[in-house]
Structures are given as structure tokens and as C-alpha cells.
């Protein structure tokens, strides 16, 4: 596929492209060699450091329970944040000023504050003013921080999802005599949820990534924190770090791929109204989100039918 940015390469351009490719490849190879050499110099490739990962105990005792906690916190945060987000998203669409404005303030406030601050605050708050046990507290604090932030992001997703529906839907509902609440419940929300699904899945990636903060800063025993206990036993610091990074990449890559699969499937669906809130739209709402389209020639984002550059 040729791009509109440049002409189809002729013989000279082809030669030049090959040259650039070779130079770029050499650069990448140099970088890879540097990393390999430095690790080798510090003896980090020693089999003894990597052997633990071939043993089932390393996984069952340290990494998998850690991963379990990561997923648990992420799932809890999503399950609690979603309905909260829906409430605020719908409140922001209210016809009444006194509902719309406070909802907007709350949403904008929590979107402006770093998740880490929310977690630190929740951790200390539970510590002083509630009876949450010191074992459970980090989980509570992490989930609270994630819920406050993500509910406000999801509020925007819900709002955008509802606004993305064709106007005719509301008008038709009114024409058959449905009340505002009924229109929202039985017409708009079900369709908006469909449109929102890809965006919600990609928000899950953001949540999974943010749980790591709780592991480092408030001692929540998620994956990154479990790595530390593991490193103390096996004395394998750098390798455990690399393995944990790969776990995160694989996990989030699966979620991202699922989101883009969902998005494409919804776009093709003939029965739906065609309104889909893609991962790309999410970047407007929450730049920390991960887009769903892969490759350079993918049909991911973009309007159907229109040609794009990438």
C-alpha cells in the first residue's frame, strides 16, 4: 500500500530506502547489543538468576498471587466506578442546572488530581478514621483511588456515548410518549453501553497500569510488590523485573486487542446505530488511555469510508 505522503518509490528512492533501512537496523542492533552486553557484563544472564522462573513455586508463591491481586483491584475498581460514572455522566446531561453543575465540578475535580495523591490520601484516611485492618487497607486505598479517578473519566465516557447516539433516537422515544427517565433507561443507555464497550475495555488497561502505583507507594501486594518478595528469596532483581514487565505487556496487549476487536465488530454490526466510542475517542477524554488500532494500515479508527494517512 502506498501512502499519499510520498510517491511510489522509483529505483533511486528504493535504493535510498534500503540504505536508510540498513542504517536504522544497524542503530537498533547497536542498542540491542549494548543492552545485552551491559547485562552480560553484570552477569545478569547467568542461568541461576533465570532458573527460578522455570520452577512452578516462583509462580504459585509469588507472581500469580500478586497478579491475582492486581486483577482483583482492577476488577473491583471497574465494577464500582462504572455505575458511579454512569450516575455522574447522566447527571451532567441533566436539564437542571443544579444537577448539571455540581456533577461537572466533581468530575473535573477528580480528573485534575493524580491517582497517586488519591491513593495516598485514601490510605491515610482509612488508617485513621476507619476500622479497616492493616492487611486489607492497601487494597481498599488502591481501589478507592482508582474508583474516584476512573468514575470521573467513565462519566465522560458515558456522556460521550449518549451524545454519540443519533438524535432521532431521543426524538422517536419522545414521539411514542416516553418520559425522560424512560428514554434514558430503555432507549439511550442500552445503546450507549454498546457504543462504550471498547472504551471501557481500554480504560481497564489504564486501571491495571495504575495498580502498580499502589504496590510501590502504599505496600499493596500486587504484581510489582510481589516481585520484591520474590527477589529477596531468589536474589534475582533485574530478571524478575524484566519478567514482570513482560507480564504487564502481555496482559495489557490482550486487553487492548480485545478492545479493538470489539470496536471493529461493533462498527460492522448492521443492527446498531453505528455509534461507537472507540479507543481513539478515549484519548480525547483520557490521554492515558491506550488506543485500540494496531499496525499502520489498519482500519481501526477513522470514519468508515474516508481515506486516511496511516
Amino acid at each position: 500500500m502506498t501512502s499519499v505522503l510520498y510517491d511510489a518509490p522509483g529505483p533511486r528512492a528504493k535504493r535510498r530506502n534500503v540504505l536508510i533501512s540498513v542504517a536504522f537496523f544497524a542503530l537498533l542492533a547497536l542498542l540491542a547489543w549494548f543492552i545485552w552486553y551491559k547485562l552480560d557484563e553484570k552477569n545478569q544472564w547467568a542461568w541461576a538468576l533465570w532458573k527460578p522462573f522455570t520452577q512452578s513455586e516462583a509462580w504459585t508463591t509469588y507472581l500469580l498471587p500478586g497478579l491475582g491481586n492486581t486483577l482483583k483491584a482492577a476488577a473491583l475498581a471497574m465494577v464500582i466506578a462504572l455505575p458511579l460514572g454512569a450516575v455522574f455522566g447522566i447527571a451532567r446531561l441533566s436539564d437542571h442546572r443544579w444537577v448539571r453543575l455540581p456533577a461537572a465540578w466533581v468530575v473535573e475535580f477528580f480528573r485534575a488530581i493524580p491517582v497517586l495523591l488519591l491513593m495516598l490520601f485514601a490510605n491515610e484516611f482509612y488508617n485513621r478514621y476507619t476500622g479497616v485492618s492493616s492487611e486489607q487497607r492497601p487494597l481498599y486505598a488502591v481501589v478507592t483511588g482508582l474508583v474516584l479517578y476512573n468514575a470521573s473519566v467513565l462519566a465522560e465516557v458515558v456522556r460521550a456515548g449518549i451524545l454519540a447516539l443519533p438524535k432521532g433516537q431521543t426524538e422517536a422515544a419522545m414521539a411514542v410518549g416516553l418520559r425522560k427517565g424512560q428514554t434514558m433507561r430503555s432507549i439511550l443507555l442500552p445503546q450507549a453501553v454498546t457504543a462504550m464497550l471498547p472504551a471501557i475495555v481500554s480504560q481497564l488497561v489504564v486501571i491495571v497500569k495504575d495498580t502498580a502505583l499502589g504496590g510501590v507507594m502504599i505496600g499493596f501486594t500486587e504484581l510489582l510488590n510481589a516481585r520484591q518478595t520474590m527477589a529477596a528469596f531468589y536474589a534475582t532483581v533485574i530478571p524478575s523485573f524484566i519478567v514482570v514487565s513482560i507480564i504487564y505487556i502481555v496482559l495489557n496487549f490482550m486487553l487492548t486487542s480485545f478492545a479493538s476487536w470489539l470496536e471493529q465488530r461493533l462498527r460492522r454490526s448492521k443492527k446498531s446505530t453505528g455509534a461507537v466510542l472507540s479507543a481513539e475517542d478515549m484519548e480525547e477524554l483520557n490521554p492515558a488511555a491506550v488506543g485500540g488500532s494496531f499496525g499502520t494500515g489498519g482500519e481501526g479508527g477513522g470514519l468508515p469510508g474516508s481515506r486516511t494517512y496511516t
Binding site: L49, S133, Y140, V143, A232, I238
Partner: protein, 283 residues
């Protein structure tokens, strides 16, 4: 299309939960307070460290090992709990006072130095071990005095008393790197990024004895401070303190203490101080 049904269900769930959010939020499976006195079939919760070889370490098979663990097991037995009735809980340094005050654990044996500041918040039984802040250095290093440290690169754990000691007294001009755990510091020492790792000699010895690091490091033997390890108990629980003190005395007299020392510090070649007298705190 299947997806439509799924999203319809999701929407229904959303609507349902909309009405239920007010009362929802967080499950409240509150653990019953740790072993509240009565022995018998109850469990006892004991706070230890999970990441300190030789003192408190979570092994690959899920069991726990180390001197603190052995002491805790002995004490628990004297309090009327068998080994299988003990539930070990990780108590990170910053969480120890809270875990006791809240009653999350019955007692804590986690390299817990007795200090006046901590005594305001918790009660201590013991001490059961006298350790000293020391330096772990490379085998070929020539650091032999605390004054050598100014201008050197040091590593310790964030918020630890050892880190504070360095900053305030021992070597204010030292370049201090702080990590969340000691294994990161040891890795930095191994690669040469820092010249010494500093904390209690008992902890350092455990790391130095690990297979991956054998022969690479040594203790400088500086005795920069006295750390009297005590067993932390909830403030005001004098009964438990007395029971634990009696247990510790018995542990020393029936040589179980010596055995725990040989088992845990022997491989590390750690020259420990003799068993401290209960209630005598070496300043």
C-alpha cells in the same frame, strides 16, 4: 447477534447497579480480631517480615524461615498455639504500630528495634537480640571507619532508621540512595553503583549468605548503633508482655535460642551478640 444480547445484559446490570450503588462498595469481610486471648482451636496472627533472609523470609514453598520466625513460633507455642495455628502476616516497617494498635496481629517479631519513640505507641517484650547498624561492602573494599563514608555512595531502605541515622549523624555528606527493599540495594552494591549498603548487621548477614552473593560481600563490623530487637505488643497489654518475656527467658534457658541462632545465622557466618537480658536495653 450475540454481542447485542451481551450489551443488553450489561445495560440491565448497569441500571440495576445504579439503584444499588448507595449501599454497595467494598465487601466487609472483617477478619475477627487476631487470636483474642483464648487459646484452644483459635488461630494467632503474628507479624513478621517477608523479605529478609535469615530473619523473616517467605520461602518458595510458601513457608517462612528466619530467626524472627523461630522466635515467634516458640513464643506462640508458650502462649498455647501450635505451629499450625500460627498465621504469619507481613508487617512492613511503617505499618507495625498500626497493626498492633488495631489488633490486626497479636504480636510482631519483625526486626523491631525498641526505641523511646515507639514505646509511646506500643509495648515491647524482650529484647531477644542485640544487633548493630553496620555496612555491607564488597569483599575487596577498604571502608573501615564511619568517617570514610562521607562522599561515598550508600544505599538503604526508604524511611528506615538506618537511613535516618546516616543523614542525621553518621555521615551527613554521604550520597544516599533509597529503595523500597534491601534486595535492590544489594543489587546496586553488586553492580558497583553504591559503595555500601547500610542497615542492621543481622539483616545484612542474611543477604550476604545468599547463594547468588556468596563470597562477594563482607560486613565492615562497625557497630554504628545498638538495635535491641523486641517483640511488639499492643499498648497496655501487660499480661501478654509478661507471658512473652517468660517465654523468651525459657527459650534462652532451654537452649532453643542458641539453636535458632545457629540455624539461621550460622550459614551467614554472623557473629551475634549473646542473648540479651529481658528488659535490659543497650543504649
Amino acid at each position: 447477534m450475540k454481542l447485542r444480547k451481551v450489551s443488553a445484559a450489561a445495560a440491565a446490570a448497569l441500571v440495576l447497579s445504579l439503584t444499588a450503588t448507595a449501599c454497595g462498595g467494598g465487601d466487609s469481610d472483617k477478619d475477627s480480631a487476631a487470636g483474642s486471648g483464648s487459646g484452644g482451636g483459635d488461630k494467632i496472627k503474628v507479624g513478621i517480615k517477608y523479605d529478609q533472609p535469615g530473619l523473616g523470609l517467605k520461602e518458595a514453598d510458601g513457608s517462612f524461615s528466619g530467626f524472627d520466625v523461630d522466635v515467634a513460633t516458640y513464643v506462640a507455642k508458650e502462649l498455647g498455639y501450635d505451629a499450625d495455628q500460627i498465621e504469619f502476616v507481613e508487617t512492613k516497617s511503617a505499618d507495625r504500630e498500626n497493626a498492633l494498635a488495631r489488633g490486626d496481629v497479636k504480636f510482631i517479631a519483625a526486626t523491631y528495634s525498641i526505641t523511646d519513640e515507639r514505646k509511646e505507641k506500643v509495648d515491647f517484650a524482650g529484647p531477644y537480640l542485640l544487633a548493630h547498624q553496620d555496612l555491607l561492602i564488597k569483599s575487596d573494599s577498604d571502608i573501615s571507619e564511619a568517617t570514610d563514608l562521607n562522599g561515598k555512595n550508600l544505599c538503604s531502605v526508604t524511611g528506615s532508621t538506618s537511613a535516618q541515622n546516616i543523614k542525621d549523624e553518621i555521615a551527613p555528606k554521604a550520597n544516599l540512595k533509597e529503595y523500597g527493599g534491601y534486595s535492590e540495594c544489594i543489587a546496586a552494591l553488586q553492580s558497583g553503583a553504591v559503595d555500601a549498603v547500610t542497615t542492621d548487621d543481622s539483616i545484612l548477614a542474611g543477604f550476604a549468605a545468599q547463594e547468588q552473593y556468596k563470597g562477594q560481600f563482607k560486613l565492615a563490623g562497625l557497630k554504628l548503633s545498638n538495635e535491641n530487637y523486641g517483640i511488639g505488643v499492643k499498648k497496655g497489654d501487660t499480661e501478654t508482655v509478661n507471658k512473652i518475656n517468660a517465654a523468651l527467658e525459657k527459650m534462652v534457658s532451654d537452649k532453643a535460642w542458641d539453636k535458632a541462632v545457629t540455624d539461621n545465622f550460622g550459614p551467614a557466618n554472623y557473629k551475634n551478640e549473646p542473648a540479651p537480658k529481658i528488659g535490659v536495653i543497650v543504649k
